[in-house]
């Protein structure tokens, strides 16, 4: 019995010991929700990271990076364990997963282990308020708020109805938008809904009969968008435009729900068909298409940018000889460059204050960037509805 126990413990130890960094490579770790309800998002993030590493290794002769990804199963404790395992395997930095409830504890653990942590999947202001020296993120709630707010203001509505999931990121965004629009004199009504809700007809009825708003704003996720627009298509509230947030203005949404998406507006970085203005973007789109046989996705673009920035900072720290002596956070703070998401530069809290999204409108299978003017690839159709 005892021998069996010792043998089992040995196997466990051997398993844990697996996967250290090879001498000629720099190991970067990542934890992503590759299973569970957020698996689709985690998969998209994973693809973007891998393409970024592939492109970095192709252009860098001095430094080669290897990526090790662990499924965090969208569980904080497992994300923390993943960070600890990655660091014990020799990872010089960790790329975070999705959701502030995961990123918070995981980046705390990373900070305790003095390891740089970057994310594109958490927008809570609490994360940057901690003042961690090793924490960085490229996107934030303020950027989404700016992007959506700029579009809404330009359309000059008298009233707006916001349907907001009570989940963390949508709730924050709705609160911010409500404050900004109300300050501009727009009448805003927020309808919060539980993420478990699938029938949105009662709340759409409120928009139709009580609010009678000009614009319907959705601060939510993919399944919610579909439910809301489907209910709106049945009840036809007197709105002139439907605007949503992340993961809405994507080719995938149109291909899956062509009857619901036309003229709907959502946050976006790229038009579709993809028109890359710069060399990096073109190479990303080509490599992505070659590797995964599909057009680049919204979340993949986010993770591509964060991974590229991290890889470049690693190269800078390695060149300066400070990579193994805690110099990576300083190298990260030297970042100042244009990316597919716009400019990226980190402040003292690790946030990217220059982050702002563009807005894209579904147009018969295409996505036209309609706001801000500097990024626009076409005029907005307004009024414009899917029905």
């Amino acid at each position: 019995m005892l021998r069996r126990a010792v043998a089992a413990a040995s196997i466990a130890l051997a398993t844990l010991a697996g996967g250290p960094a090879r001498a000629d490579e720099i190991l970067v770790g990542a934890h992503m929700p590759l299973t569970g309800s957020l698996a689709r998002s985690g998969q998209a993030f994973d693809e973007g990271m891998r393409v970024a590493i592939q492109m970095f290794n192709a252009r860098s002769e001095k430094h080669k990076i290897r990526l090790q990804v662990i499924d965090d199963e969208s569980t904080p404790a497992k994300a923390v364990s993943a960070v600890e395992k990655l660091v014990s395997d020799g990872a010089v930095a960790v790329i975070g997963g999705y959701g502030s409830n995961i990123i918070g504890p995981a980046s705390d653990a990373s900070n305790r282990l003095k390891t740089t942590y970057i994310t594109a999947g958490a927008v809570s202001d609490e994360l940057t308020a901690r003042g961690l020296k090793t924490f960085f993120r490229i996107n934030n709630n303020a950027g989404y708020q700016r992007g959506m707010g700029a579009l809404l203001e330009s359309l000059k509505p008298t009233s707006v109805s916001i349907l907001a999931s009570t989940k963390e990121a949508p709730a924050l965004l709705a609160k911010g938008l409500q404050k900004d629009l109300a300050a501009k004199g727009v009448k805003v009504t927020v309808h919060e809904f539980d993420p478990a809700i699938t029938d949105f007809k009662p709340v759409i009825n409120k928009v139709k009969l009580q609010d009678k708003s000009d614009i319907l704003v959705m601060s939510a996720y993919e399944n919610d968008y579909v439910g809301i627009i489907r209910a709106a298509k049945v009840l036809k509230p007197p709105v002139k435009l439907i605007v949503g947030a992340w993961s809405l203005a994507t080719p995938k949404m149109y291909s899956e729900f062509p009857d619901l998406m036309n003229n709907v507006v959502g946050t976006s970085f790229l038009p579709f068909p993809v028109e890359m203005k710069d060399e990096e973007g073109k190479r990303f789109a080509e490599t992505y298409k070659k590797t995964y046989n599909k057009e680049v996705e919204y979340l993949s673009t986010l993770s591509f940018v964060e991974t590229t920035i991290l890889a470049e900072a690693i190269a800078r720290a390695a060149d300066a000889g400070t990579l193994k002596s805690g110099g990576l956070p300083d190298a990260m703070r030297q970042t100042e460059r244009e990316t597919l998401l716009g400019p990226v530069q980190f402040d003292a809290t690790g946030d990217n204050p220059r982050f702002s999204v563009a807005m894209g409108q579904h147009r018969a299978g295409k996505i036209v960037l309609v706001s801000p003017a500097a990024a626009a690839t076409g005029e907005i159709v307004f009024p414009g509805l899917p029905w």
């Binding site: 466990a12 130890l13 904080p76 364990s81 600890e84 014990s88």
Partner: protein
Amino acid sequence: MASLESAPAVALKAAPARSRVPGGAALGLGLLVLALLPVLMGASNYMLGLLISALILSGVALAWALLGNLGGMVSFGHAAFFGVGAYASALLSAKLGLPVLLTVPLGGLVAVVASLAMLPALRLSGPYFALAILAYAQIFRILATEASWLTGGGAGFQRYPGLPNVFGLDLASRTGSYLLLVAVVTLCALAYLAVRRSHVGLALRAIAESEDATRVVGVNSTVLKSLMLLLSAFITGVFGALNAHIIGFLEPDYAFSGVWSLMPIIAAIFGGYRTIVGPIGGAVIIYLFDQVVAKSLIAVGHQIILGFVLVVMVLAAPNGLLGLVRKGDRHA
């Protein structure tokens, strides 16, 4: 009351067999092995982190088994007590500045207060009780979401104190948290043992055998079962509170996640819910098996392996791992 009627006879008949090996000694030995594991494993942060998660699950599994075994009630809503304990402790420490080592048991007490609302459900039996308590967990999740002025709502609650230093031992460190959890699990297991060995425990086992007959001889079954619900809620709340201070982030979907109701049931049944060591060992084994062995074999989708193992386990050993070990001992 709920549907554990099939097993009490086994439990009562098995009592003399257990008396050959003192329960306290077996419990002490098992927990000693647990305490030594970090040393044997080289005390890496990763392994300690896994053990900490497993021990939190152990505590909730123990509380669930206590309610099921002694109270005769199947609960699908322990997430309610877990979440209430977590939020109570985090809020008391952050808003009132109370020391964390005080707010953790207070979190358990608030979970007890919350469980008082469940007392009317004790009149229900079988699946009706299970459904009522399942709905109860949802009510608290929604309350935590809506009371955003207090809990931060869906945006979550983060800036609250972690575990403190005690006599030079940093309880927030992996080693400190692990030792604290071993101590708390041991205390809870000993409390369970004390209840089971007391007259109350005897009466509860008799209630499980025949509630009507026990009432005839003057036992107030409702009061005793209520006490088990309160004790189970307290233990679950304490582990919820500990988890909150170890993880350092709370949001309603996480604190009241169905995982806190489901996984303890799986762990307790896997280990043997009619014993004390069973739920603890079951939680540690399935968590480590899933995260260390299964995950190394199938990095993505490793839960399939755990699912197969559980199905085989339930078919081969309906009394859990401990039942299987005892069966093996008898055949040897």
